[in-house]
Amino acid sequence: MAKSKQDRDNYMPTPDDRLLIEEFKQNPIGHHSPDLQRLLNRLRGAPMADKHCLVVVEPNRQWRLAKTTGIRGEPVKLLPQRFSNLSDAEWHVFKVRWKALTGETLTK
């Protein structure tokens, strides 16, 4: 699954790690297997430029997807997607980050 082996300093998903996708879908926030935690550390630890985050629209009920710029004072970029639960937001961003890391498009 890894694009290449050049990234030796950082963990890259292997084909076996596709099994972790379902585990994440079932429980995106909370207890994870060590392998999933390692994957999430990679996905969530990205630098601040163009990093996904959420903006509260309605407390505990609605969030809007956004991206930070990594530049102090530069407005957070609001994106069109809205979510009514955090799990949906997590899954959406997981797919985007997985694609960026592996090149693979996850469906559903």
């Binding site: 601040m48 102090r72 957070v76």
Partner: protein, 754 residues
């Protein structure tokens, strides 16, 4: 974007006293109400937001107006006539620039912005080397530069001289340490365009260029980032040997008549004054609190405290985003009615119907001075609120999503603060030059110390942290019908034991992390003289802080040699400039938190919370009253609005080696934390695998009780998330039950051991 922001001049006020509110409002008018805050949590899955409008003379509609903040620190020297009239001169300083490439920055400004005349020693915008700017007005400006970029965080001797008679300029830029391949040294002569400089009447400034006054505030531009040490101005061109002699903090006798200003930053470090050593006495004042007590160009590492070698601490570190007092004009005031009960209140300001048109300014109403009007005191941790004031980690730091184990959520206040950096940041942030923020003031809108605010760090669920989390304790007291007073850290610091001595029980907040020596000593004395403290939180009594001796509403923390640190103080800069005390962790001051509250910080994680399991001590006959009503193996707090459990976010453990008293009962311990929870770094003498919640026994909260001298006692929940579980099932749950069992006993006359 928020249309209204505000702050107050006080955070606590007693009946009969006046609190002033300063408001920035984009609308023509706004409505102000005073409200009693009960529950600030807007989560519809909880008890719901609760406040009560109190009619006061301050209630009313006020005219809206824009008020702005001028951030950035500098030294201002007013009434410096001899400086303003200089013709030939020599300016020099030792500098340690942190952002030489950011654009034009001013080291010494003897300049009239209005007339565009005078002289400035600058860092040049184009190449980041030093330069001299001369102006004679009407657009006649000459700027000469070395063209040699300064290195970041290296000491330089810099000087610029101007000979009006010969029309020559000399620039000197000398690194203290040379590096092979670096072309950062210069000694240059240039021809000056002007034979005379017009006089002006503007203040001389160091670290920025004065522009104008705005309602009594000095507004500057071209703020410099970095340290300045030993700035000097002489009234003639000096030779290199004379300049060298002037580096020292004593003016050589042969130069006394020529040196017109020589500022010594190593004196009055605790204060706001900057001393001029010459007979001219061009003393200055620091503005917006640049950092003092900083290692100077000649610091040799032999002394770590500025008190022991002040002559090596002659540097001030300036930042373009320093802020002390926003300095806004007062918009309305409240003189607290005599009959208003002590509690947590706020000015609620609304200039429209949407969320963006609303702001709150919270404050405590104290009992009348010298009086106690309840058995219970809730201690509002204003020092800790200040440490977190306007914290920016979620937009500045990539680890925020790792710490919280999920996407971070930004509230509207976060978005506004991010775009308005002039509102200043917290002691968890870094300045624009990357250096840690060690001072934080409450004399500015603190937009994360608000009811309804959701914090990225506050766990899955209600996302509560500090102020808004603490409203759950207030809501619990109100729901169960307890009468209570509210006292803040500032009273505890100023009045000591007297601030709380009259109460049968003191309740802490969810996260009383920052404590001054005076606060620590007062709380220790309270417990030893029969006082009973309920520590209803986690990671308390952790950092040592200092309050300024002269300026109200500002605290200092030096993130020294241990602990969970958002930044690290530089070596030699561990001592508070406000007091000279050694800063950092209380644990490194010989007082681990276990010594005062039985438990101390052990692990943290910010995703989900967990529960406590009862421990054998909890069944002991003499303290059975604590768990009265609970089943034998009943899990405690496996519910809650903060991460879904009562044990979460930051967790403390009992440890006899760190000071947990021998008579302490460990009533329960939390378990089953995620691997987002990790052991605190001060426990890591050798780093090793297995430090997460799934494996490490140090990832736990220990609920502890012990009696103290003279009938006093201590109960600790040791978890920040505790307050978020109190309201579960309409306050009928075992977290609420235990809290009630302890509080009822603490305010009774019964002994604590049966």
């Amino acid at each position: 974007m928020m249309k209204i922001t505000a702050y107050a001049d006080q955070v606590s006020v007693a009946p009969g006293e006046t609190i002033n509110f300063m408001v920035n409002c984009a609308a023509k008018s706004y409505k102000a109400d005073i409200v009693k805050l009960i529950c600030g949590d807007t989560n519809p899955d909880g008890p719901g937001y609760q406040e009560k409008v109190i009619r006061t003379p301050a209630t009313g509609t006020y005219r809206g107006r824009k008020q702005v903040i001028h951030a950035g620190s500098f030294v201002e020297i007013g009434n410096a006539a001899a400086l303003n009239q200089l013709q030939s001169f020599n300016m020099q300083a030792m500098i340690w620039p942190t952002t030489p490439a950011k654009g034009r920055q001013t080291i010494i400004s003897n300049w009239s912005h209005r007339k565009q005349c005078g002289a400035q020693l600058i860092i040049d915008a184009d190449n980041g080397g030093i330069g001299l700017c001369l102006g004679t007005g009407k657009g006649n400006v000459q700027t000469v530069v070395t063209g040699k970029p300064l290195l970041v965080r290296e000491w330089y001797f810099v000087a610029a001289s101007y000979d009006a008679n010969k029309k020559t300029i000399q620039l000197i830029q000398e690194p203290l340490h040379t590096h092979v391949g670096c072309n950062d040294q210069a000694r240059q002569k240039h021809v000056a365009k002007f034979a005379k400089l017009p006089t002006h009447t503007e203040p001389v400034t160091l670290g920025a260029q004065f522009v104008r006054y705005d309602k009594g505030r000095s507004v500057c531009q071209q703020h410099y980032n970095g340290k300045i040490d030993s700035p000097r101005i002489a009234s003639r061109v000096l030779d290199r040997g004379e300049m060298e002699a002037l580096k020292r903090n004593a003016i050589p006798g042969e130069l006394v008549g020529d040196v017109v200003a020589a500022w010594d930053f190593s004196t009055d470090i605790t204060g706001t004054r900057v001393r001029d050593m010459t007979e001219n006495r061009y003393h200055g004042e620091i503005v917006n609190l640049p950092v003092r007590g900083m290692t100077g160009w000649n610091w040799n590492g032999e002394e770590m405290s500025w008190k022991h070698a002040p002559e090596q601490y002659g540097a001030i570190h300036f930042h373009d985003d320093d802020l002390y007092d926003a300095g806004w004009d007062v918009d309305f005031s409240l003189t607290v009615p005599k009959n208003l009960k002590s509690g947590l209140y706020a000015a609620r300001l609304r200039c429209g119907d949407d969320d963006e048109s609303e702001d709150y300014v919270p404050f405590a109403i104290l009992p009348p001075r010298g009086e106690v009007t309840a058995k219970i005191c809730f201690l509002l941790p204003t020092g800790s609120y200040m440490a977190y004031a306007n914290e920016h980690m979620a937009v500045d730091v990539p680890i925020a999503q790792l710490l919280s184990g999920r996407l971070v959520e930004h509230d509207r206040q976060d978005i506004y603060r991010h775009e308005h950096r002039e509102y200043g940041a917290s002691c968890y942030d870094t300045h624009s030059d990357g250096s840690g923020i060690c001072y934080s003031s409450r004399l500015r809108p603190i937009l994360n110390m608000r009811p309804k605010y959701r914090a990225w760090i506050g766990g899955k669920g209600s996302a509560l942290w500090q102020f808004n989390a603490d409203t759950h304790i207030i809501a619990w007291l109100e729901a169960l019908g307890y009468d209570y007073d509210v006292v803040t850290d500032e009273e505890l610091h100023q009045d000591g034991l007297a601030a709380i001595a009259g109460y049968d029980a003191v309740l802490s907040s969810s996260h009383p992390e920052y404590q001054s020596r005076q606060m620590w000593d007062a709380m220790d004395a309270y417990q030893q003289t029969g006082g009973r403290l309920m520590y209803l939180g986690g990671n308390g009594w952790y950092w040592r802080i200092a309050y300024h001796c002269e300026l109200p509403g500002v605290m200092e923390v030096r993130r020294g040699e241990g602990g969970i640190r958002a930044w690290e103080a530089r070596t030699g800069e561990y001592y508070h400039s406000f007091t000279g005390e050694y800063g950092g962790l209380w644990r490194r001051n010989g007082r681990a938190p276990q010594r005062i509250v039985g438990t101390g910080f052990s692990a943290q994680g910010f995703d989900i919370s967990s529960y406590y399991a009862r421990k054998p001590d909890s069944y002991k006959k003499e303290i059975r009253w604590i768990m009265a009503g609970l089943g034998k193996d009943e899990r405690i707090g496996d519910f809650g609005l903060v991460g879904g459990g009562a044990a979460g976010l930051e967790l403390d453990r009992a440890d006899a080696n760190l000071g947990t008293p021998p008579g302490a009962y460990v009533l329960a311990s939390s378990e089953k934390h995620t691997d987002i929870y990790l052991v605190v770094c001060e426990e890591l003498l050798i780093n090793y695998p297995g430090l997460g919640g799934h494996e490490s026994p140090l990832v736990r909260a220990d609920m502890v009780f012990y009696p103290t001298s003279n009938g006093g006692g201590l109960f600790a929940t040791s978890s920040i998330a505790w307050s978020g579980s109190l309201s579960h099932n309409n306050y009928k749950n075992n977290v609420s039950r235990i809290t009630k069992n302890v509080l009822d006993r603490f305010i009774s006359n019964k002994p604590l051991l049966e």
